[in-house]
């Protein structure tokens, strides 16, 4: 069992009042920002590169490398921006919200460090519209930081000006995609932009912009407290640090846990420190490992470690840490229908394969689930998915952004791995699970 050596993000959450400036400073808060402000900006970026910090929003892209794509001021004199992606909405994912609720100053301190490294004098935190309570906690924390002279004209008393604003979304999954997020920050509907140019060069208001996830930026104060090497060593392979993951569905103790990246899915599901297994007599049938856009895994594939590169051989991804567990009595067709409905609903409508394809797939899956399926439907389903994004996944579908892939790849994986269930539905002209498709905890009590 890979024990978590040290907590990074959640370290101080059990200490009282950590969400207030007073409590946060009692736990040593803002000392790392003070330290970073004495460093050269390039040296900060180097530390982040050395730490092996990778984007926690889903893609796992090396953070320091992302920062280094911002052109120098000599080459590009426009103002720089940092945008924080707090639009957590990938189904199965519940981690950033807890950082905002329990440790907003950890994020704000990280923002100070990142903005100083990037030469950005403005940061927008784009928070999910539905996060009324987390946003209220964050607003209070921002106000505290201004009142204490941390933010504003003089970042912690230096000559570096930094303004931090929270902007709340209004209910659109697509705005978690970084260019759609920028469009939304510019006051528009969230239609993703063609890349290149990448946001690091042409981002918010046409200026160089870095978009980072909440958990990513909240890791920075610890990296500067304990050193890049320490952070790198906590992780495995090319990934530094720990991860916040949420295990949900058929486990006895669902919840959000900070884990070592050396932890396997099996440990997360069964260990007493985490999910504590399934009710007696039940076994895992399927597990979505990284938010609902991550292709599904079978019970034989649970020994994979929760590290970004480990999922590639399984044609899936670590994604945003949303682990959803389905037991042996759950209906795979019904589960996939629910996933497909989501992407059909949330497709922004810009690219034809996604706008037309996602609802088409959802209609076919519903037809099969309701016992109206025909043998040819499965081929049609796979063909539509293939037209949106090719399987096996190559990381690039036929749409401007990854929402196309996010909806198509789960369909391919479910049909490939649980084909017999789809065929049984079609042959029996009904759902074999009848009125109880959701498995062991599916009844509302």
């Amino acid at each position: 069992m890979s024990v978590l050596a040290e907590k990074v993000i959640t370290r101080d959450w059990h200490k009282g009042a950590n969400h207030t400036l007073d409590g946060y400073q009692k736990n040593g808060g803002y000392e790392q920002l003070k330290k970073a402000l004495t460093m050269a900006p390039a040296a900060i970026t180097d530390e982040v590169k050395k730490s092996g910090l990778r984007g926690r929003g889903g893609a796992g892209f090396p953070t320091g490398l992302k920062w280094s794509f911002v052109p120098s001021l000599e080459k590009n004199t426009k103002p720089r921006y940092l945008a924080i992606n707090a639009d957590e909405s990938e189904p199965g994912t519940a981690k950033d919200r807890f950082i905002l609720e329990n440790d907003p100053h950890l994020l704000l301190e990280g923002i100070g460090i990142a903005c100083f490294a990037l030469g950005a004098h403005t940061c927008y935190i784009y928070a999910r519209g539905e996060f009324k309570h987390p946003s209220a906690v964050l607003d209070k924390a921002i106000a505290e930081a201004y009142a204490a002279g941390i933010f504003g004209k003089k970042l912690m008393g230096t000559d570096f000006e930094l303004n931090v604003y929270q902007v709340r979304g209004a209910g659109a999954y697509i705005c978690g995609e970084e260019t759609a997020l920028l469009e939304s920050l510019e006051g528009k509907k969230g239609w993703p932009r063609l890349k290149p140019p990448f946001p690091a060069v042409v981002g918010l208001f046409g200026s160089p912009t870095v978009v980072n996830n909440v958990e990513t930026i909240a890791s920075l104060p610890r990296i500067f407290e304990k050193g890049a090497e320490w952070f790198m060593k906590l992780g495995t392979g090319k990934s530094g640090g720990t991860r916040l993951v949420t295990v949900s569905g058929a486990v006895l103790r669902p919840g959000t846990y900070e884990v070592s990246m050396d932890t396997s899915l099996r440990e997360l599901i069964y260990d007493k420190a985490y999910g504590q297994g399934l009710p007696e007599g039940r076994t895992v049938k399927a597990c979505i490992p990284g938010g609902s856009s991550a292709p599904v895994l079978t019970a034989d594939e649970l020994d994979v470690k929760l590290e970004f590169d480990a999922f590639k051989p399984l044609q899936s991804m670590a994604g945003s840490g949303g682990v959803m567990v389905m037991d042996d009595t759950a209906c795979m067709v019904r589960c996939l229908w629910r996933v497909a409905r989501f992407y059909a609903e949330e497709s922004c409508g810009q690219c034809t394969p996604c706008r037309e394809g996602q609802p088409w797939m959802a209609r076919i899956i519903r037809k099969i689930e309701e016992g109206r399926g025909e043998p040819a439907d499965l081929d049609t389903l796979v063909n539509v998915a293939q037209a949106i994004a090719p399987w096996p996944p190559i990381g690039l579908g036929n749409t401007i952004c990854a929402l196309g892939d996010a909806g198509a790849l789960p369909v391919q994986s479910f049909v490939q791995k649980f084909r017999k269930e789809f065929e049984d539905h079609i042959a029996q002209k009904r759902c074999p699970h009848g009125e109880t498709p959701w498995g062991v905890f599916g009844e509302f009590k």
Partner: protein, 162 residues
């Protein structure tokens, strides 16, 4: 003559709110404040009536069509007056595995409402994942979040809605 959108005091508050929002953006990027401005309007008025969107567009120096485009793209914006209580029930996968479909049915029966249909008192809707996957099932009443729900908890919650 329709009632005015705001009283004089409300209008003052609204204008001050817009001015504060505009200060967060570059002076030549006023229309960037569209989402926060529409949110302010909805918070004060309960929904986004045409004359309100006209005000937002004027203050942000953009067209009312732009305001409509944004208002209709995002599901949290109401371009029609919603019921007194907007109840958003997550029925996405993690919640569904913990009884969300049954919870929605339970609410439909108790409230005599049909999901997706706006009513005078209740606007019961299905919504997407609300980041309560480890604390499922969940719902929001006028954006207030409730999780780890059971029949007993839903009953208690509904009793408070008069």
């Amino acid at each position: 003559m329709a009632e005015p959108l705001f009283t004089a005091d409300e209008q003052k508050k609204f204008d001050a709110g817009i001015a504060e929002l505009l200060s967060h953006y570059p002076p030549d990027r006023k229309s960037a404040a569209m989402l926060p401005a529409l949110r302010l309007l909805q918070t004060m008025h309960g929904w986004l009536p045409p004359e309100g969107m006209q005000q937002v567009a004027t203050r942000l120096e953009t067209t009312v069509a732009r305001a409509y485009e944004v208002a209709t793209f995002y599901v949290m914006f109401h371009t029609k007056k919603p019921g007194k209580y907007v109840i958003d029930v997550c029925t996405n996968l993690a919640c569904a595995l913990r009884g969300a479909e049954g919870m929605l049915k339970y609410l439909e029966d108790k409230l005599q409402a049909k999901a997706g249909e706006n009513g005078e008192k209740y606007f019961l809707r299905e919504t997407e994942c609300l980041a309560s996957c480890g604390t499922a099932p969940c719902l929001q009443v006028n954006e207030d979040h409730h999780e780890n729900l059971t029949k007993a908890k839903v009953d208690a919650l509904l009793e408070k809605l008069s």
